[in-house]
Protein backbone atom coordinates (compact mmCIF):
# COMPACT_ATOMS: atom_id res chain seq x y z
CA UNK A 1 0.00 0.00 0.00
CA UNK A 2 1.27 3.48 -0.82
CA UNK A 3 2.61 5.43 2.17
CA UNK A 4 0.53 8.50 1.25
CA UNK A 5 -2.73 6.58 1.23
CA UNK A 6 -1.82 4.85 4.51
CA UNK A 7 -1.05 8.16 6.22
CA UNK A 8 -4.36 9.59 4.93
CA UNK A 9 -6.17 6.68 6.51
CA UNK A 10 -4.34 7.19 9.81
CA UNK A 11 -5.24 10.89 9.79
CA UNK A 12 -8.92 9.98 9.25
CA UNK A 13 -8.72 7.37 12.02
CA UNK A 14 -7.19 9.77 14.55
CA UNK A 15 -9.71 12.49 13.65
CA UNK A 16 -12.51 10.03 14.36
CA UNK A 17 -10.86 9.01 17.62
CA UNK A 18 -10.48 12.67 18.62
CA UNK A 19 -14.11 13.45 17.81
CA UNK A 20 -15.28 10.42 19.74
CA UNK A 21 -13.15 11.39 22.76
CA UNK A 22 -14.52 14.95 22.70
CA UNK A 23 -18.16 13.85 22.52
CA UNK A 24 -17.63 11.17 25.20
CA UNK A 25 -15.99 13.72 27.52
CA UNK A 26 -18.89 16.10 26.96
CA UNK A 27 -21.62 13.48 27.53
CA UNK A 28 -19.73 11.78 30.41
CA UNK A 29 -22.01 8.76 30.52
CA UNK A 30 -21.26 5.00 30.70
CA UNK A 31 -23.55 4.69 27.66
CA UNK A 32 -20.85 6.41 25.59
CA UNK A 33 -17.46 5.42 27.00
CA UNK A 34 -14.31 7.29 25.96
CA UNK A 35 -11.79 5.55 23.65
CA UNK A 36 -9.51 4.75 26.60
CA UNK A 37 -12.26 2.83 28.42
CA UNK A 38 -12.97 0.86 25.28
CA UNK A 39 -9.29 -0.02 24.93
CA UNK A 40 -9.28 -1.09 28.58
CA UNK A 41 -12.25 -3.34 27.90
CA UNK A 42 -10.44 -4.70 24.85
CA UNK A 43 -7.35 -5.40 26.90
CA UNK A 44 -9.43 -7.10 29.62
CA UNK A 45 -11.19 -9.35 27.09
CA UNK A 46 -7.82 -10.15 25.51
CA UNK A 47 -6.17 -11.10 28.81
CA UNK A 48 -9.12 -13.21 29.86
CA UNK A 49 -8.69 -14.99 26.49
CA UNK A 50 -12.23 -14.38 25.37
CA UNK A 51 -11.35 -11.91 22.62
CA UNK A 52 -9.09 -14.08 20.43
CA UNK A 53 -11.22 -17.18 20.99
CA UNK A 54 -14.42 -15.35 20.04
CA UNK A 55 -12.78 -13.65 17.07
CA UNK A 56 -11.49 -16.97 15.74
CA UNK A 57 -14.87 -18.65 16.12
CA UNK A 58 -16.63 -15.80 14.32
CA UNK A 59 -13.93 -15.57 11.68
CA UNK A 60 -14.26 -19.28 11.00
CA UNK A 61 -18.01 -18.86 10.45
CA UNK A 62 -17.39 -15.84 8.23
CA UNK A 63 -14.84 -17.72 6.11
CA UNK A 64 -16.98 -20.85 5.67
CA UNK A 65 -20.10 -18.84 4.82
CA UNK A 66 -18.15 -16.55 2.52
CA UNK A 67 -16.54 -19.39 0.56
CA UNK A 68 -19.82 -21.25 0.08
CA UNK A 69 -21.81 -18.10 -0.75
CA UNK A 70 -19.20 -16.97 -3.28
CA UNK A 71 -18.90 -20.39 -4.90
CA UNK A 72 -22.61 -21.16 -5.15
CA UNK A 73 -23.68 -17.58 -5.85
CA UNK A 74 -20.87 -17.16 -8.37
CA UNK A 75 -21.76 -20.29 -10.34
CA UNK A 76 -25.49 -19.51 -10.27
CA UNK A 77 -24.88 -15.85 -11.22
CA UNK A 78 -22.57 -16.62 -14.14
CA UNK A 79 -24.96 -19.28 -15.48
CA UNK A 80 -27.81 -16.77 -15.22
CA UNK A 81 -25.73 -14.18 -17.05
CA UNK A 82 -24.77 -16.59 -19.82
CA UNK A 83 -27.99 -18.53 -20.37
CA UNK A 84 -31.33 -16.78 -20.75
CA UNK A 85 -33.28 -19.91 -19.82
CA UNK A 86 -31.43 -20.28 -16.49
CA UNK A 87 -32.02 -16.59 -15.83
CA UNK A 88 -35.74 -16.89 -16.56
CA UNK A 89 -36.07 -19.88 -14.21
CA UNK A 90 -33.99 -18.56 -11.32
CA UNK A 91 -34.74 -14.83 -11.46
CA UNK A 92 -38.02 -14.98 -9.47
CA UNK A 93 -36.32 -17.09 -6.79
CA UNK A 94 -33.49 -14.60 -6.64
CA UNK A 95 -35.88 -11.70 -6.19
CA UNK A 96 -37.66 -13.53 -3.35
CA UNK A 97 -34.36 -14.31 -1.61
CA UNK A 98 -33.16 -10.73 -2.04
CA UNK A 99 -36.27 -9.40 -0.37
CA UNK A 100 -36.62 -11.78 2.56
CA UNK A 101 -35.21 -10.05 5.65
CA UNK A 102 -32.02 -11.69 6.92
CA UNK A 103 -33.60 -12.09 10.33
CA UNK A 104 -36.50 -14.13 8.92
CA UNK A 105 -34.14 -16.61 7.26
CA UNK A 106 -32.10 -16.95 10.44
CA UNK A 107 -35.15 -17.52 12.64
CA UNK A 108 -36.74 -19.96 10.21
CA UNK A 109 -33.57 -22.07 9.92
CA UNK A 110 -33.16 -22.13 13.70
CA UNK A 111 -36.78 -23.24 14.09
CA UNK A 112 -36.55 -25.88 11.37
CA UNK A 113 -33.10 -27.31 12.15
CA UNK A 114 -32.54 -26.27 15.76
CA UNK A 115 -29.84 -24.04 17.21
CA UNK A 116 -27.03 -25.91 15.47
CA UNK A 117 -23.90 -24.81 13.62
CA UNK A 118 -25.15 -25.97 10.21
CA UNK A 119 -28.31 -23.87 10.54
CA UNK A 120 -26.25 -20.84 11.58
CA UNK A 121 -23.84 -21.08 8.65
CA UNK A 122 -26.60 -21.97 6.17
CA UNK A 123 -28.56 -18.89 7.25
CA UNK A 124 -25.58 -16.68 6.47
CA UNK A 125 -24.97 -18.38 3.12
CA UNK A 126 -28.61 -18.04 2.05
CA UNK A 127 -28.55 -14.36 3.01
CA UNK A 128 -25.42 -13.58 1.03
CA UNK A 129 -25.88 -15.88 -1.97
CA UNK A 130 -28.41 -13.73 -3.89
CA UNK A 131 -26.16 -10.64 -3.70
CA UNK A 132 -23.25 -12.61 -5.13
CA UNK A 133 -25.46 -14.11 -7.84
CA UNK A 134 -26.79 -10.69 -8.90
CA UNK A 135 -23.29 -9.21 -9.11
CA UNK A 136 -21.79 -12.17 -10.97
CA UNK A 137 -24.78 -12.30 -13.31
CA UNK A 138 -23.75 -8.85 -14.52
CA UNK A 139 -20.22 -10.18 -14.95
CA UNK A 140 -21.52 -13.11 -17.01
CA UNK A 141 -23.52 -10.75 -19.19
CA UNK A 142 -20.51 -8.56 -19.89
CA UNK A 143 -18.32 -11.31 -21.39
CA UNK A 144 -16.60 -10.05 -24.53
CA UNK A 145 -18.23 -11.77 -27.49
CA UNK A 146 -15.32 -11.11 -29.82
CA UNK A 147 -12.81 -12.70 -27.44
CA UNK A 148 -15.18 -15.62 -27.04
CA UNK A 149 -15.14 -16.12 -30.83
CA UNK A 150 -11.37 -15.83 -30.85
CA UNK A 151 -11.09 -18.53 -28.20
CA UNK A 152 -13.26 -20.85 -30.29
CA UNK A 153 -11.27 -20.09 -33.43
CA UNK A 154 -7.96 -20.76 -31.69
CA UNK A 155 -9.19 -23.92 -30.02
CA UNK A 156 -8.87 -22.89 -26.37
CA UNK A 157 -9.50 -25.79 -23.99
CA UNK A 158 -12.09 -25.40 -21.22
CA UNK A 159 -9.33 -24.78 -18.68
CA UNK A 160 -7.74 -22.15 -20.90
CA UNK A 161 -11.07 -20.40 -21.32
CA UNK A 162 -11.77 -20.59 -17.59
CA UNK A 163 -8.43 -19.20 -16.47
CA UNK A 164 -7.41 -16.90 -19.32
CA UNK A 165 -10.74 -15.70 -20.72
CA UNK A 166 -13.57 -15.88 -18.21
CA UNK A 167 -11.79 -15.43 -14.87
CA UNK A 168 -10.11 -12.08 -15.79
CA UNK A 169 -13.44 -10.74 -17.05
CA UNK A 170 -15.23 -11.87 -13.91
CA UNK A 171 -12.52 -10.70 -11.53
CA UNK A 172 -13.77 -7.09 -11.03
CA UNK A 173 -17.24 -8.45 -10.26
CA UNK A 174 -15.79 -11.06 -7.90
CA UNK A 175 -13.95 -8.29 -6.07
CA UNK A 176 -17.14 -6.23 -5.76
CA UNK A 177 -18.98 -9.28 -4.42
CA UNK A 178 -16.08 -10.07 -2.09
CA UNK A 179 -15.92 -6.61 -0.57
CA UNK A 180 -19.66 -6.20 -0.10
CA UNK A 181 -19.79 -9.86 0.93
CA UNK A 182 -17.30 -9.57 3.74
CA UNK A 183 -19.02 -6.49 5.10
CA UNK A 184 -22.45 -8.11 4.95
CA UNK A 185 -21.47 -11.60 6.08
CA UNK A 186 -19.75 -10.64 9.28
CA UNK A 187 -22.74 -8.50 10.28
CA UNK A 188 -25.13 -11.40 9.64
CA UNK A 189 -22.83 -13.84 11.46
CA UNK A 190 -23.04 -11.62 14.55
CA UNK A 191 -26.85 -11.70 14.44
CA UNK A 192 -26.80 -15.48 13.97
CA UNK A 193 -24.47 -15.85 16.95
CA UNK A 194 -26.49 -13.46 19.05
CA UNK A 195 -29.70 -15.39 18.39
CA UNK A 196 -28.59 -18.97 18.59
CA UNK A 197 -24.95 -19.71 19.37
CA UNK A 198 -23.05 -19.91 22.64
CA UNK A 199 -19.73 -18.67 21.30
CA UNK A 200 -18.28 -16.05 18.94
CA UNK A 201 -18.29 -12.26 18.92
CA UNK A 202 -22.08 -12.13 18.54
CA UNK A 203 -22.52 -14.18 21.71
CA UNK A 204 -20.12 -11.88 23.61
CA UNK A 205 -22.08 -8.86 22.37
CA UNK A 206 -25.24 -10.52 23.63
CA UNK A 207 -23.71 -10.91 27.10
CA UNK A 208 -22.47 -7.31 27.09
CA UNK A 209 -25.89 -6.08 25.97
CA UNK A 210 -27.56 -7.79 28.95
CA UNK A 211 -25.42 -5.70 31.32
CA UNK A 212 -25.48 -2.56 29.10
CA UNK A 213 -21.68 -2.83 28.91
CA UNK A 214 -21.17 -0.44 25.97
CA UNK A 215 -17.38 -0.43 26.35
CA UNK A 216 -17.21 -4.20 25.72
CA UNK A 217 -19.68 -3.95 22.83
CA UNK A 218 -17.50 -1.30 21.18
CA UNK A 219 -14.33 -3.26 22.00
CA UNK A 220 -15.54 -6.35 20.13
CA UNK A 221 -16.80 -4.24 17.25
CA UNK A 222 -13.46 -2.50 16.92
CA UNK A 223 -11.61 -5.79 17.07
CA UNK A 224 -13.64 -7.29 14.25
CA UNK A 225 -13.51 -4.15 12.14
CA UNK A 226 -9.73 -4.33 12.48
CA UNK A 227 -9.71 -7.93 11.27
CA UNK A 228 -11.79 -7.02 8.21
CA UNK A 229 -9.53 -4.02 7.53
CA UNK A 230 -6.44 -6.26 7.70
CA UNK A 231 -8.06 -8.62 5.19
CA UNK A 232 -8.67 -5.62 2.93
CA UNK A 233 -5.08 -4.35 3.22
CA UNK A 234 -3.18 -7.58 3.04
CA UNK A 235 -5.33 -9.81 0.83
CA UNK A 236 -7.85 -7.86 -1.24
CA UNK A 237 -5.82 -4.81 -2.21
CA UNK A 238 -2.70 -6.78 -3.30
CA UNK A 239 -4.98 -9.10 -5.30
CA UNK A 240 -6.63 -6.09 -6.90
CA UNK A 241 -3.29 -4.52 -7.82
CA UNK A 242 -1.96 -7.77 -9.26
CA UNK A 243 -5.05 -8.36 -11.36
CA UNK A 244 -5.23 -4.81 -12.73
CA UNK A 245 -1.56 -4.57 -13.79
CA UNK A 246 -2.51 -4.96 -17.46
CA UNK A 247 -4.78 -1.90 -17.33
CA UNK A 248 -1.82 0.29 -16.54
CA UNK A 249 -0.07 -1.07 -19.62
CA UNK A 250 3.69 -1.44 -19.57
CA UNK A 251 5.55 -4.69 -19.52
CA UNK A 252 5.26 -7.57 -17.14
CA UNK A 253 8.93 -7.38 -16.23
Amino acid sequence: MKTGRLSDQFVAFFCLLGGWWLVASFVASPLLPAPLEVFEALSKEFHEQRLIESLLVTLQRVVISFVFAMLLGGIIGVLMGRFRLVNRILDPLLIILLNIPALVIIILLYIWFGLVEVAAVAAVIINKLPNVAVTLREGGRMFDHELEEMSVMYGFSFQQKLWHLWWPQLFPYIMIATRSGLALIWKIVLVVELLGRSDGVGFQLHLAFQSFDVATILAYSLAFISVVQLIEWFILQPLDRRASRWQKGGSNV
Binding site: E146, L147, E149, M150, V152, M153, Y154, G155, F156, Q160, H164, L165, P168, A243, R245, W246, Q247, G249, G250, S251, N252, V253
Partner: protein, 225 residues
Amino acid sequence: MFEFHVEGLALSQKQVLSALSIRVQPGETHCLLGPSGSGKTTLLNLMAGLAQENVEALGNGAKDKNYWSPNPPEIGYLFQQPRLLPWRTIMQNLLLVEPDKEVVLNLLEEVKLQDYVDYYPAKISLGMARRVALVRCLLLKPELVLMDEPLTSLDLPTAREMRVLIKRLVCDHPTRSMLYVTHDLDEALELGDSVSVLGNVPAQVIYNSRIDEVSRNELEALLKH
Protein backbone atom coordinates in the same frame (compact mmCIF):
# COMPACT_ATOMS: atom_id res chain seq x y z
CA MET B 1 -8.63 -26.91 -54.13
CA PHE B 2 -10.87 -25.65 -51.34
CA GLU B 3 -14.41 -24.94 -52.40
CA PHE B 4 -16.90 -23.19 -50.18
CA HIS B 5 -20.55 -23.20 -51.12
CA VAL B 6 -23.61 -21.80 -49.38
CA GLU B 7 -27.13 -21.48 -50.75
CA GLY B 8 -27.65 -18.17 -49.01
CA LEU B 9 -27.28 -16.30 -45.73
CA ALA B 10 -29.95 -14.55 -43.70
CA LEU B 11 -29.11 -12.01 -41.03
CA SER B 12 -31.95 -11.39 -38.55
CA GLN B 13 -34.29 -13.13 -41.03
CA LYS B 14 -33.27 -10.80 -43.86
CA GLN B 15 -31.39 -12.44 -46.70
CA VAL B 16 -28.02 -10.72 -47.12
CA LEU B 17 -26.25 -13.24 -49.38
CA SER B 18 -27.52 -15.23 -52.37
CA ALA B 19 -26.16 -18.62 -53.38
CA LEU B 20 -22.42 -18.31 -53.53
CA SER B 21 -19.34 -20.44 -54.29
CA ILE B 22 -15.76 -19.49 -53.68
CA ARG B 23 -12.81 -21.59 -54.84
CA VAL B 24 -9.29 -21.15 -53.55
CA GLN B 25 -6.37 -23.08 -55.04
CA PRO B 26 -3.57 -24.32 -52.76
CA GLY B 27 -0.94 -21.63 -52.37
CA GLU B 28 -3.24 -19.04 -53.92
CA THR B 29 -4.47 -15.74 -52.49
CA HIS B 30 -8.04 -15.04 -53.42
CA CYS B 31 -9.36 -11.55 -52.74
CA LEU B 32 -13.00 -10.94 -52.00
CA LEU B 33 -14.01 -7.38 -52.79
CA GLY B 34 -17.31 -5.86 -51.82
CA PRO B 35 -18.88 -2.74 -50.43
CA SER B 36 -19.43 -2.30 -46.68
CA GLY B 37 -22.46 -4.13 -45.38
CA SER B 38 -22.42 -6.75 -48.12
CA GLY B 39 -22.00 -9.55 -45.56
CA LYS B 40 -18.28 -10.21 -46.03
CA THR B 41 -17.48 -10.61 -42.34
CA THR B 42 -20.57 -12.74 -41.76
CA LEU B 43 -19.43 -14.95 -44.64
CA LEU B 44 -15.91 -15.29 -43.20
CA ASN B 45 -17.34 -16.21 -39.79
CA LEU B 46 -19.41 -18.90 -41.43
CA MET B 47 -16.34 -20.19 -43.28
CA ALA B 48 -14.42 -20.28 -39.99
CA GLY B 49 -17.23 -22.26 -38.37
CA LEU B 50 -18.09 -19.59 -35.81
CA ALA B 51 -21.64 -19.75 -34.50
CA GLN B 52 -23.35 -16.41 -35.01
CA GLU B 53 -26.48 -15.14 -33.36
CA ASN B 54 -29.28 -14.12 -35.76
CA VAL B 55 -27.40 -15.62 -38.73
CA GLU B 56 -29.03 -18.43 -40.64
CA ALA B 57 -27.31 -20.30 -43.44
CA LEU B 58 -29.55 -21.72 -46.14
CA GLY B 59 -29.22 -24.93 -48.14
CA ASN B 60 -27.98 -28.49 -47.63
CA GLY B 61 -24.67 -27.61 -46.00
CA ALA B 62 -26.45 -25.67 -43.26
CA LYS B 63 -27.78 -28.86 -41.67
CA ASP B 64 -24.42 -30.34 -40.72
CA LYS B 65 -22.63 -26.98 -40.98
CA ASN B 66 -20.34 -28.32 -43.67
CA TYR B 67 -19.96 -25.89 -46.52
CA TRP B 68 -16.56 -27.08 -47.70
CA SER B 69 -15.67 -29.63 -50.30
CA PRO B 70 -13.94 -31.95 -50.38
CA ASN B 71 -13.13 -31.42 -46.67
CA PRO B 72 -12.98 -28.34 -44.43
CA PRO B 73 -9.40 -27.01 -44.48
CA GLU B 74 -7.35 -26.13 -41.39
CA ILE B 75 -8.31 -22.48 -41.02
CA GLY B 76 -6.50 -19.56 -39.42
CA TYR B 77 -8.58 -16.42 -39.06
CA LEU B 78 -7.12 -12.94 -38.77
CA PHE B 79 -9.99 -10.85 -37.45
CA GLN B 80 -10.39 -7.20 -38.32
CA GLN B 81 -9.42 -6.28 -34.76
CA PRO B 82 -6.46 -8.10 -33.16
CA ARG B 83 -8.60 -9.65 -30.38
CA LEU B 84 -5.66 -10.25 -28.05
CA LEU B 85 -6.42 -10.99 -24.40
CA PRO B 86 -5.68 -7.59 -22.83
CA TRP B 87 -4.80 -9.11 -19.43
CA ARG B 88 -2.14 -11.43 -20.85
CA THR B 89 1.24 -10.39 -22.23
CA ILE B 90 2.10 -10.87 -25.90
CA MET B 91 3.98 -14.07 -25.11
CA GLN B 92 1.20 -15.39 -22.85
CA ASN B 93 -1.33 -14.71 -25.62
CA LEU B 94 0.70 -16.69 -28.12
CA LEU B 95 1.59 -19.55 -25.78
CA LEU B 96 -2.11 -20.29 -25.49
CA VAL B 97 -2.08 -21.29 -29.14
CA GLU B 98 1.41 -22.79 -29.41
CA PRO B 99 3.01 -24.04 -26.19
CA ASP B 100 6.51 -24.24 -27.72
CA LYS B 101 8.22 -20.97 -26.76
CA GLU B 102 10.95 -21.37 -29.38
CA VAL B 103 8.43 -21.61 -32.21
CA VAL B 104 6.65 -18.51 -30.91
CA LEU B 105 9.88 -16.55 -30.59
CA ASN B 106 10.97 -17.48 -34.10
CA LEU B 107 7.75 -16.17 -35.57
CA LEU B 108 7.88 -13.05 -33.39
CA GLU B 109 11.35 -12.40 -34.80
CA GLU B 110 9.91 -12.65 -38.31
CA VAL B 111 7.59 -9.75 -37.49
CA LYS B 112 10.26 -7.92 -35.46
CA LEU B 113 8.41 -8.11 -32.15
CA GLN B 114 10.82 -10.30 -30.21
CA ASP B 115 11.56 -7.44 -27.80
CA TYR B 116 7.92 -7.00 -26.83
CA VAL B 117 7.14 -10.44 -25.46
CA ASP B 118 6.44 -9.16 -21.93
CA TYR B 119 4.31 -6.22 -22.98
CA TYR B 120 0.59 -6.09 -22.47
CA PRO B 121 -1.46 -5.40 -25.63
CA ALA B 122 -2.56 -1.99 -24.27
CA LYS B 123 1.04 -0.79 -24.41
CA ILE B 124 1.75 -1.62 -28.05
CA SER B 125 0.39 0.12 -31.14
CA LEU B 126 -2.47 -1.19 -33.26
CA GLY B 127 -0.02 -2.07 -36.03
CA MET B 128 2.07 -4.13 -33.62
CA ALA B 129 -1.03 -5.79 -32.19
CA ARG B 130 -2.07 -6.76 -35.74
CA ARG B 131 1.37 -8.31 -36.26
CA VAL B 132 0.95 -10.30 -33.05
CA ALA B 133 -2.47 -11.43 -34.27
CA LEU B 134 -0.87 -12.49 -37.57
CA VAL B 135 1.71 -14.53 -35.67
CA ARG B 136 -1.06 -16.15 -33.61
CA CYS B 137 -2.92 -17.01 -36.80
CA LEU B 138 0.18 -18.57 -38.37
CA LEU B 139 0.97 -20.58 -35.24
CA LEU B 140 -2.05 -22.72 -36.15
CA LYS B 141 -0.17 -23.74 -39.33
CA PRO B 142 -3.32 -23.17 -41.35
CA GLU B 143 -3.94 -24.48 -44.86
CA LEU B 144 -6.26 -21.56 -45.47
CA VAL B 145 -5.91 -18.13 -43.88
CA LEU B 146 -8.99 -15.93 -43.68
CA MET B 147 -8.24 -12.23 -43.38
CA ASP B 148 -10.91 -9.65 -42.71
CA GLU B 149 -9.66 -6.22 -43.78
CA PRO B 150 -6.50 -6.52 -41.67
CA LEU B 151 -5.19 -3.10 -42.69
CA THR B 152 -8.23 -1.11 -41.57
CA SER B 153 -7.46 1.89 -39.31
CA LEU B 154 -3.69 1.68 -39.89
CA ASP B 155 -1.74 4.70 -41.08
CA LEU B 156 -0.15 4.39 -44.53
CA PRO B 157 3.43 3.39 -43.56
CA THR B 158 2.14 0.84 -41.00
CA ALA B 159 -0.35 -0.56 -43.51
CA ARG B 160 2.44 -0.88 -46.10
CA GLU B 161 4.66 -2.67 -43.59
CA MET B 162 1.82 -5.05 -42.68
CA ARG B 163 1.09 -5.71 -46.35
CA VAL B 164 4.73 -6.67 -46.93
CA LEU B 165 4.56 -9.05 -43.97
CA ILE B 166 1.34 -10.67 -45.19
CA LYS B 167 2.88 -11.09 -48.64
CA ARG B 168 6.05 -12.65 -47.25
CA LEU B 169 4.51 -14.89 -44.60
CA VAL B 170 1.28 -15.91 -46.29
CA CYS B 171 1.12 -15.10 -50.01
CA ASP B 172 4.64 -16.29 -50.82
CA HIS B 173 4.20 -19.49 -48.83
CA PRO B 174 4.09 -22.33 -51.37
CA THR B 175 1.15 -24.26 -49.93
CA ARG B 176 -0.66 -21.72 -47.81
CA SER B 177 -3.87 -20.35 -49.29
CA MET B 178 -5.59 -17.16 -48.28
CA LEU B 179 -8.98 -15.61 -48.65
CA TYR B 180 -8.48 -11.88 -48.23
CA VAL B 181 -11.52 -9.69 -47.68
CA THR B 182 -11.13 -6.03 -48.46
CA HIS B 183 -12.74 -3.06 -50.12
CA ASP B 184 -9.37 -1.60 -51.08
CA LEU B 185 -8.48 -2.22 -54.73
CA ASP B 186 -4.76 -1.61 -54.26
CA GLU B 187 -4.55 -4.29 -51.59
CA ALA B 188 -6.39 -6.74 -53.83
CA LEU B 189 -4.19 -5.99 -56.82
CA GLU B 190 -0.97 -6.28 -54.84
CA LEU B 191 -1.74 -9.39 -52.79
CA GLY B 192 -4.26 -11.38 -54.84
CA ASP B 193 -3.81 -14.12 -57.42
CA SER B 194 -7.53 -14.13 -58.15
CA VAL B 195 -10.46 -11.96 -57.23
CA SER B 196 -14.20 -12.15 -56.69
CA VAL B 197 -16.45 -9.13 -56.43
CA LEU B 198 -19.62 -9.12 -54.35
CA GLY B 199 -22.50 -6.96 -55.51
CA ASN B 200 -26.29 -6.63 -55.70
CA VAL B 201 -28.79 -7.08 -52.86
CA PRO B 202 -28.83 -9.73 -51.51
CA ALA B 203 -25.13 -9.96 -52.33
CA GLN B 204 -23.80 -12.44 -54.86
CA VAL B 205 -20.54 -12.95 -56.72
CA ILE B 206 -20.89 -10.69 -59.74
CA TYR B 207 -17.37 -11.16 -61.04
CA ASN B 208 -14.64 -13.73 -60.71
CA SER B 209 -11.27 -13.69 -62.46
CA ARG B 210 -7.51 -14.13 -62.25
CA ILE B 211 -6.01 -10.89 -61.02
CA ASP B 212 -3.79 -10.49 -64.09
CA GLU B 213 -6.83 -10.73 -66.35
CA VAL B 214 -8.57 -7.72 -64.91
CA SER B 215 -7.72 -4.02 -64.87
CA ARG B 216 -8.06 -1.62 -61.99
CA ASN B 217 -10.66 0.39 -63.90
CA GLU B 218 -12.81 -2.70 -64.46
CA LEU B 219 -12.74 -3.56 -60.76
CA GLU B 220 -13.53 0.02 -59.84
CA ALA B 221 -16.52 -0.01 -62.15
CA LEU B 222 -17.71 -3.31 -60.70
CA LEU B 223 -17.51 -1.99 -57.13
CA LYS B 224 -19.58 1.04 -58.10
CA HIS B 225 -22.12 -1.28 -59.73
